[in-house]
Each structure stands twice: as structure tokens, then as C-alpha cells.
Symmetry: C2
Subunit: 193 residues, 2 copies
Amino acid sequence: MIKRGTKPEQIDRLEPKVRQGLTLVITGHGKGKTTSALGMALRACGHGMKVFIIQFMKGDIYAGEWDGIKQMNCDIELVATGKGFCGIQGNPYPWSEHRANAQDAIDLAGEKIVAGCCDLLILDEINNALQLKLVDLDQVLGLLRNKPPLLHLILTGRDAHPQIIELADTVSEVREIKHAYRQEIEPQPGIDF
Amino acid sequence: MIKRGTKPEQIDRLEPKVRQGLTLVITGHGKGKTTSALGMALRACGHGMKVFIIQFMKGDIYAGEWDGIKQMNCDIELVATGKGFCGIQGNPYPWSEHRANAQDAIDLAGEKIVAGCCDLLILDEINNALQLKLVDLDQVLGLLRNKPPLLHLILTGRDAHPQIIELADTVSEVREIKHAYRQEIEPQPGIDF
């Protein structure tokens, strides 16, 4: 397919001398937090790693990744535990129901960590769940502190708590420069959900 | 799996009244640009969409997504066209070789756009390639202007050009708050490559 250019003479394979499980936080108000975590899931699958994804709050609106995950021939599982974004217009569920669901999600995360579920555990929207008091700071910090040394943990969602940022190895803030919805473009499948 | 919480009463499926192909730019110096694009690829696959990924510059160091893509039971293809990051320490290839490869990559992108290759076309690291003059601004703007109305186009890489940002619908800047490599943690498989 490359016509004028040529292939590199060799393809290197990086192999860290020290394997280390990282804690990553993807926060900010721009588009690309959940998708960044999903991209790492895909990358991890390529390395033969085992992936478990827990979506906090999400679960009431279909998202393409639910079926995308099923189409992957690797050890990857996704559980959407929520009832939508607590408090936003149109969401019919009281805070207490959102809290009950998020509490189950964090219990599940704790069980998965203890059981050595996987090489990569993604806690999608957990930062949001914390800000809405659906989970408690001590619960999240407990997960980070009890993480096995080789497990990679990714926490996504807006407004990550400073103490979580403090404990993390890599933190990115996704800033919105522009967003299609501000031009009244509706959410598009494959991109926005 | 949910014990105390309950499932939402119904799961809604968003369906935009108007389908529109978006141009997205994921830029900035933080971690999570390529992975965000890959996550949208996974999401798009869940919707049964066809995906084509062209990696500019990348191709000399194995990346997990090369095999991750192959494990997906959907219409997705990835071509890594490059010889590494031009100009960085240890890269043995002269600028002219990087340019030849990037020129092939942009020709390929043009062909794919004309041929109606896919629903989502990802041009990974094209912003970097532009900044290093491996491709020309007019070439990239030409792709954006010739894009079929329903095609989603994602451009990743640092330092996106202002004229590209101007034409895009959604632009996110991924800022580095912390990065593991600053604590001398080596790149880890599944996360960093």
C-alpha cells in the first residue's frame, strides 16, 4: 500500500525492565475521556491482557461500546451499572437509587481487585459519581491503595478529586476547545455514544 | 451482578434526526489522543460501522492496537505508514524518508475518502506530521473539505494547526497534568503502546 515510502528496516518491541501497574486519571470537560479508556482496552487486548470495565452511572442509554466489546476476541468484559446521569434534566431516578447502583459498582470494583480479575480495570465515570456523592472519597482512595502492583487502573470522568490526582501516576485533563453540540449538532452514533 | 441497585426501567436508544459526519481533532501534549480515537473506533464497531485507521509516523515500534484491531469481528483496518517520530533521538531516518512515507499516507487518505472507504476514518498523528512538514497544510485542508457529508474524520496529534481547528466540529485538547514517565516509570504495554 505504501508506494514511494518504504517500511522501516525493523520493528522494535518495547519491553520495560520493570513492569508496573499504573493508576491513570482521565478528567476534564472535553470529549474523549471514556473513549481514551476504551482505546487503552483495545490496546491492552492486543497485548493479550485481560480487561474489565465498570461503567458508573451509565446504563440507561445504549452506547456503541456495549456491542463493540462483544465483538472483540479477547478477554474483555463491560458492566454498565447505572441509571443515567444523576440530577440531569429528564432523568427520572432519585439520588438514592443512583447511590445504590454506584455502591454496587464500587463493591464490584473492590471484589474484582481482590479477585485479581484482570490486567486493566476501567472505572468509567467514577469521578462524576464521586462528585455527586454516589460513592465516597474513602471508598475510591481505598481501591487505589489496595490495587495490586501490576494492575492498571483507569478512572474517568469530570472533576477528578485532588486526592485521587495526587495518588495517580498519569493524569490527563481533556479540555473542550469546540464541541459539535454547541452548534446544535445532535449526538452521533459511533462518535458520541 | 447488581445486588442492591436495580436496572433502569428502560434503555433508550438515541437516534439523531439528522445524521452528520463530524470532523474531530484530538490534540494537546497529554496522554490519550490516539487512544481516544481508538475508543471511538471500538464504539463505531458496536454500531456496525466501517472503520479505517491510518497511522502517520508510527510503524517502527510495535503497538498493541495493531493486534487489538485484528481481534475485532468487525470491518476495521489499520495501516501504520511511518518510520517513527521524525527528528527524535535515536530515529535513524532522514526527514526526506519520513516525508515520502507521510506523502503516501496522505495519498492513501485521499483515495479512501474518494472511494467511500468507511464511516469513520482516523488519521492518527497527522497533526504532528503537519508540524514537521511531512505533509502540507493544503493537503490536510483538502481532505477536510472533500470529506463526504456522512464520513466521520478524526485527526490526532500534538499542536493541531489553527486552520484545522477552525474547520473541525469538535476539538479537544488533552493536557498533561501528570505523566508516569516523569517519575522515570518506563512505558508499559497496554497503556503506553
